[in-house]
């Protein structure tokens, strides 16, 4: 083909890295699908067998039973109220916590790391787990639900807001310090106003999430629509479930629209 020899440099071996990564992924996937090892049994047979049965019930989803609507109003309002109250209380608690967790507003590493660690631990427990345990502790009702939502929100809001404060330009604080202010004074007069748009935005975001969560907290007894959901699923009344799902969808979308509207105008 060609007469001249080219001085092609030696090719680096990338294959080992790609092979290792692919191999690891394959191995993990295999391990997680072996029932004998406690993995998930991907039982496509069962789908085929139960399909007739299940399909008929799932079919009911598309013929919503509207007669259940009157029974849903109260739980629905309860769900929304839980979400609102939970978000509000969490927002109040999140202000001092966010300031404690961010470096510019809390130069003392020990307390800062402590707050962050506690919140990481709080975030590691899923919302419904809190709800289950709280219900067993203090009984059925909306109170365990609200506490669950508060914990859930704090985990999210404080992390996001403190990270934003961390990465924001903290030069405005230098002015406060130069003028002789204490950390608390600086926080109150400069950090808070700077933080407010970001903070409000995250609170609105957590409100969106809360509505979704509070809708199902009732399944474990913590108030809201969940109790109704638990009831209808026990009887396989998927037509009623469809109505409830539709309500949840409507509320979630409305809250999302409201939240987006307010968040856009926060700047």
């Amino acid at each position: 083909m060609a007469a001249t020899e080219l001085a092609v440099p030696p090719r680096p071996r990338v294959w080992p890295r790609i092979a290792v990564v692919t191999g690891a992924l394959v191995v993990i996937t295999v391990l997680t699908t072996l029932p004998t090892l406690g993995g998930v049994e991907v039982d496509l047979d069962a789908i085929a067998r139960n399909w007739g049965n299940g399909a008929e019930r799932i079919g009911k989803l598309f013929r919503p039973d509207l007669s259940i609507l009157p029974r849903t109003w109260e739980p629905l309002i309860e769900t929304i109220e839980m979400a609102l109250v939970g978000t509000a209380i969490a927002a109040v608690l999140a202000v001092p916590l966010s300031l404690w967790a961010a470096r510019p507003s809390n130069p003392r590493a020990a307390t800062r790391r402590g707050v962050r660690l506690v919140l990481n631990v709080v975030r590691a427990v899923p919302d419904l787990v809190y709800a289950t345990i709280l219900v067993a502790m203090i009984g059925v009702g909306t109170l365990p639900g609200i506490i669950t939502l508060i914990l859930f929100d704090l985990g999210i809001v404080v992390k996001l807001v403190s990270e934003a404060v961390d990465s924001a330009d903290a030069s405005y604080m230098e002015a406060g310090r130069a003028a002789g202010g204490t950390q608390t004074q600086i926080n109150r007069l400069t950090t808070l106003p700077q933080m407010w748009p970001m903070f409000a935005s995250q609170v609105l975001y957590s409100l969106e999430l809360n509505v979704r969560v509070s809708a199902i907290l009732g399944i474990v007894g913590a108030g809201g629509l969940g109790r109704l959901i638990d009831e209808v699923r026990g009887f396989y009344r998927y037509d009623s479930l469809a109505t409830i799902i539709a309500e949840i969808l409507v509320v979630v979308i409305l809250i999302e629209l409201l939240s987006n509207f307010l968040r856009k105008r926060l700047r």
Partner: protein, 280 residues
């Protein structure tokens, strides 16, 4: 008109800054709703006073002397939950990628894009627990149901992340492949995939992290795993075991988050650092 009047405006006549009436109304509305909510819920504020003491009491029951004998069982159930999370992530990522690519602008026709994005939005609004409840008529109360619910539920968010990532890729490389005579597959492979891959892989791993938490929740409705074990022991008020379970959940979740987070950072940094490594 004297000179002073020319330079100093009469402050009283400067129009007040418009304050976005609609926005203020919206916030006020929210405030009113809030007050109404507090009142309507009728929380017995008396109970709140007892609350800290109650919580401390239970806290002691759970953590003062946890029943470590149950640890092996707890770890096994956790493995089942993590397995559910992994399978759900794999399935979910495959489905989300297949559906997310046509949903990106510039790939599919507008009606397909709109339908898919609408589908993602609807799925996002439905909690995974409800998805699990729906599909368990077909697949039963098994971890497979959990994995499927995680996969389907994941399509909502991961599908959105997929098309957003694809749309954020600069178009130049794709144009060059097309200009050289490449077909759709070649354009996708070299004009799109090379740029989007690190972020997509990182998001897939993040999906798995989220799934680990959700799998515990799904266990609470009976699909198996640590959530299932938790419901059982909580119902029987065996607090010392519950304490062990909580500790296991916290430790495992935080560990997976830490490891996964480190891997994700390496994927993303490996992508950017090497680009910045300019040779003379």
């Amino acid at each position: 008109m004297n000179a002073a009047a020319l330079h100093e405006p009469d402050v009283g006549q400067v129009p007040a800054k418009p304050r976005g009436i609609v926005v203020r109304l919206a916030w006020t509305g929210v405030g009113v709703l809030l007050l109404a909510a507090f009142w309507d819920l009728g929380i017995e504020w008396g109970r709140l006073v007892d609350l800290p003491a109650d919580l401390l009491h239970y806290g002691r029951l759970m953590f003062a002397d946890p029943d470590w004998a149950k640890l092996p069982e707890a770890l096994f159930q956790t493995w089942r939950s993590v397995a559910m999370a992994w399978v759900g992530a794999v399935l979910g990522v495959v489905l989300s990628t297949a559906l997310g690519i046509p949903a990106a602008s510039g790939v599919g026709p507008w009606w397909l894009r709109l339908t898919l994005r609408g589908l993602f939005a609807v799925i996002r609004a439905v909690p995974e627990v409800i998805i699990a409840i729906i599909i368990l008529t077909v697949t039963g109360l098994t971890p497979f149901t959990g994995a499927l619910a995680l996969a389907i539920g994941g399509i909502g968010t991961h599908g959105k992340w997929t098309y957003e990532t694809i749309e954020s890729v600069p178009h130049g490389a794709a144009e060059a492949v097309r200009a050289s005579g490449g077909n759709v597959l070649e354009v996708a492979r070299w004009g799109l995939w090379t740029a989007a891959a690190p972020e997509l892989m990182s998001l897939a791993l993040y999906r798995f992290e989220i799934n680990v938490r959700t799998s515990a929740i799904l266990g609470l409705i009976g699909v198996g795993g640590i959530g299932d074990m938790l419901t059982g022991y909580t119902q029987y008020r065996e607090w010392d075991t519950v304490g062990v379970l909580i500790i296991v959940v916290i430790v495992i979740t935080m560990s997976i988050d830490a490891v996964s987070g480190r891997i994700r950072r390496r994927i993303m940094e490996g992508a950017t650092v090497r680009d910045l490594d300019r040779s003379p």
